[in-house]
């Protein structure tokens, strides 16, 4: 009585295995960030924050995530009420492909309980900055301290966290 079910399992087995193998292969290929005609590339990220959502890819070329290929650093000093100062940001491209930075935004943390983040604003970068593979580029944004920043903000240090997005072909 049990022979028939056993034979059925044996007959169906190879089909399931082949389908599963194809599915795994397809998933692996789709998940790998690849350059045009190149083999899969792997990226790792740095920084305190999580990666920002990826930008929209051109029509007909679905985006593939390569999270963490960018590293952004930069600081500004000399802030006082009402002043706007240039804040140069160094964008480093740690991938093996040239990228175009399309967006840079900054999160400002409270400097202290009395000197809140609202006392400092940093303009976003929305242009297009090309960064060579393994290279870096300088992008300048503007940092403004509020005219109403109180005495508690004298000598304050605001921690800045940058988030960048880029596209590559």
């Amino acid at each position: 009585m049990s022979t028939v079910p056993t034979l059925r399992r044996i007959a169906v087995g190879p089909t399931v295995a082949v389908a599963a193998a194809a599915a795994v292969l397809a998933a692996a290929v789709l998940a790998a960030p690849t350059g045009a005609g190149a083999g899969p590339l792997a990226f790792t990220g740095i920084g305190r924050s999580t990666a920002a959502p990826v930008a929209t890819a051109p029509v007909g070329a679905p985006a593939v995530r390569a999270a963490g290929a960018l590293a952004v650093t930069g600081s500004v000093a000399g802030l006082y009420p009402g002043v706007t100062l240039p804040l140069p940001l160094t964008v480093t491209n740690r991938s093996a492909k040239q990228v175009t930075v399309t967006s840079l935004t900054t999160s400002v943390a409270n400097a202290s309980k009395q000197c809140k983040r609202a006392n400092l604003t940093v303009s976003p970068f929305t242009g297009a900055a090309v960064v060579a593979a393994g290279g870096s580029a300088l992008v300048t944004v503007q940092a403004t301290m509020a005219l109403q920043a109180g005495d508690a903000c004298q000598g304050a240090v605001f921690v800045l966290t940058y988030h960048g997005k880029a596209l590559a072909r």
Partner: protein, 147 residues
């Protein structure tokens, strides 16, 4: 016989379909690899300056007027302040009050002439300001006698 061939051909047909899918999947991947996006993060800081202590003022009296002056003050980075708050203290009692007419409010120069000063010995100070920031009060002047 027919039933047996049909049973064997089902997995074979599925295998053919799966193998045929592989090139399609690879082609799709090539399109995806033509453009990709990435992101990243990093950190930095924004540091604010401080208002430096005002310079000790000096002065002299002429009848009921007192002419007071002091050296300009700056922020820690060298930026000039936008004004000064002037006060005077009664040397006899230690009572401090804001300077009156001629030196009242924010003085935008580094000198002023206070008028109608009561008789007595007065010690003047200046406090640098920049917008909403106030610096430390300067050391007091030597006593200035108003007859």
């Amino acid at each position: 016989m027919t039933a047996g061939r049909a049973g064997r051909s089902r997995p074979t047909a599925l295998l053919v379909v799966c193998v045929a899918l592989v090139p399609a999947v690879l082609a799709s991947s090539a399109v995806a690899g033509a453009a990709w996006s990435t992101s990243g993060s990093g950190g930095g800081s924004g540091a604010a300056e401080v208002v430096q202590t005002g310079a000790q003022p000096s002065g002299r009296a002429s009848a009921t007027e007192v002419i007071v002056s002091w050296a300009p003050a700056t922020l820690s980075g060298g930026q000039a302040v936008t004004g000064y708050l002037v006060s005077r203290t009664d040397a006899a009692t230690g009572a401090t009050s804001a300077a009156g007419a001629g030196c009242a409010g924010v003085v935008t120069t580094n000198h002023c002439i206070e008028t109608s000063v009561p008789a007595g010995d007065w010690i003047y100070t200046d406090r640098p300001v920049l917008q909403s920031w106030n610096g430390p009060v300067s050391p007091g002047s030597l006593p200035i006698t108003v007859p």
